[in-house]
Symmetry: C2
Subunit: 401 residues, 2 copies
Amino acid sequence: MIIVQKYGGTSVADLDRIRNVANRVKATRDAGNQVVVVVSARAGVTNRLVDDAKALLPHPDSREMDMLLSIGEQETIALTAMALHALGVPAVSRTGAQVGIRTDQEFTKARIVQIDGGDIKQQLDDGKVVIVAGFQGVAPSGDVTTLGRGGSDLSAIAIAKAVGADVCQILTDVDGVYTADPRVVKDARKLDEISYDEMLELASLGSKVMQARSVEFAKKHGVVFEVRNSMNNNPGTIVKEEVASMEDVVVRGVAVDKNQTKVVILGLNDQPGTAARIFTALSQANVNVDMIVQNVGRDGVANLTFTVPADDAFKAEKAVENIRDVLGPKLKVMTDRVAKVSVVGIGMRSHSGVAAELFTAFAKAGVNIQLISTSEIKISVAVDVDKADEAMRVAHAAFSL
Amino acid sequence: MIIVQKYGGTSVADLDRIRNVANRVKATRDAGNQVVVVVSARAGVTNRLVDDAKALLPHPDSREMDMLLSIGEQETIALTAMALHALGVPAVSRTGAQVGIRTDQEFTKARIVQIDGGDIKQQLDDGKVVIVAGFQGVAPSGDVTTLGRGGSDLSAIAIAKAVGADVCQILTDVDGVYTADPRVVKDARKLDEISYDEMLELASLGSKVMQARSVEFAKKHGVVFEVRNSMNNNPGTIVKEEVASMEDVVVRGVAVDKNQTKVVILGLNDQPGTAARIFTALSQANVNVDMIVQNVGRDGVANLTFTVPADDAFKAEKAVENIRDVLGPKLKVMTDRVAKVSVVGIGMRSHSGVAAELFTAFAKAGVNIQLISTSEIKISVAVDVDKADEAMRVAHAAFSL
């Protein structure tokens, strides 16, 4: 079998951990597999580089930023190759450019345009382990690009696709995807499998196992992958296209994102196009808006509430204040930190009453709901940050996860 | 004018020093010049990477070593570009591969085969400062290579040649080339100019200002360069083809290399080919032999003495022991640390009596001479390490430097 294994920054943080990775790769190869390893920069390296850059210049040029950041992964591939050599395993390192990860010209957040895999297959057939730098590619200009947050996962999945891998393993510091955060919900359970769509919702909900874009890429290209622990040999969670039996489970998991800010806009002119102007302004300011609720109040004024990532709250407030002229003289903007608790499951499509059940459970537990938003396979509610853990436990219990 | 400036590792050791480099580059550009900057890895970075590699594997694969080491310079070019941006100076970084520094496939000690300069001229004409990673190139395989010790100087001189630079400045932590080490000889004097050949002898004698190969490259391609201090604006030492007036100075400078080992081989069979076998064995062991003296003794046995860099002494001894069979039953090998003191000057070609003058001065000062070797423009003597500084002072005084 051809197996792609991706190891993140904590798994290669120091030389001992790199040796651990080498031992795991050797074991996988000794079992008769051809192995491609995708690695991130050592934990802390990227942050140190970013700090240096920002000390020189608050907003460094993005091309130079990628020239700088890409060295983190280049360091890891060379050291990992050496650690494998030390075990007597033939291995060769490859940069993103060398395995033909072609991207657009959008430095620091490049998108993969095409990937041919370079000579990976040939090296595998020669008996070598191939170690590829995650997170990076090459632009049409020939400059190195980086893929942005979660980029190494994306590299691994793209390479799995390019070489026709049988298995793609995302090795991380947890055993897989859980029904809820096991640090908060004691009886949270590891899932054996999950659909792309459920994983996508969980990813976008801050469950932090993986970035949504990697899951989207896997779904689009039909790459089945497994999230598993780099420190043990427990089976992980398989992420794949949904199968009929998956729908028997109404709720697959519960996720919480405590890093949200609720923006409340009061006293808006109640005219067609007002909301459009606001969301255009927010979009131009690069603010990702999540849950949205609009109420029309008395006296021809409307209220609008939405949530944004807490880091974007200031930008969001400023973007709205900037168009105060068109929004009306009574405009008032308030912000408040909130937590978003979500239940996710493709079974919801065919089962009604999930929302009612959830809201009833929250009411019984005294958890006040501030905002609600739903999709086909997800219900999200914004609650007080203080109540977030309690809400997750209540939801987890309500659906007998 | 097109000016190439090369800054070494100590000149870019931390962010403040990188800012200092940026300020100097800006001043050079503001004076109406087009500037290409060649930088090394930050001081300490390369050593740290080598330590990591050797902790994994005593003899790391050289291709992976270059994959690893080349990140040092890549870090510096990006940070230097950002420091220039912070001053409002348009600047762009380039890897060795991007400016077409094509080398052979000899990883960790690659030789430059060709250099086209990439788009440097175009970037300069667009008003930009171009910052190039020293020490690295690209092999025919497309892999990154490093040029070995002193590689960044070589990069700078090669780039100066490729872009037809008017001036090539090697910025370092001393004011230039001195008549002797100013830390040892109080009245040592900075030279305003020196010929390639004199500089070559000084470089190979461990004066440590530059590696011989960079000077050789400059001589071969007629690149005039200046060694000057990165921390002040003092004029440095111009290194160029000799002109007639240079011969008026008999001795240009005195250098000492304390890092030598004398290898004495006693009891050799006095047969034709014995020395050839020894030096073949040493060459195969990659030991650079310097001074050589052979005496034929009594009873058909010969003695042979030579010096090697102290780091190679063990290798040298082993290489000789390995061919004990062919060297004779009475073979005895002894080693001893020595210092090599040399006087250099192209004026020696037309002036006799320099050796006599030097040996007389040493005799008066009680400095015992162990070995002597001479070239057209150099006289070297091996002395006790304890006597090295004294010998340098005596020689410096003898020739009224």
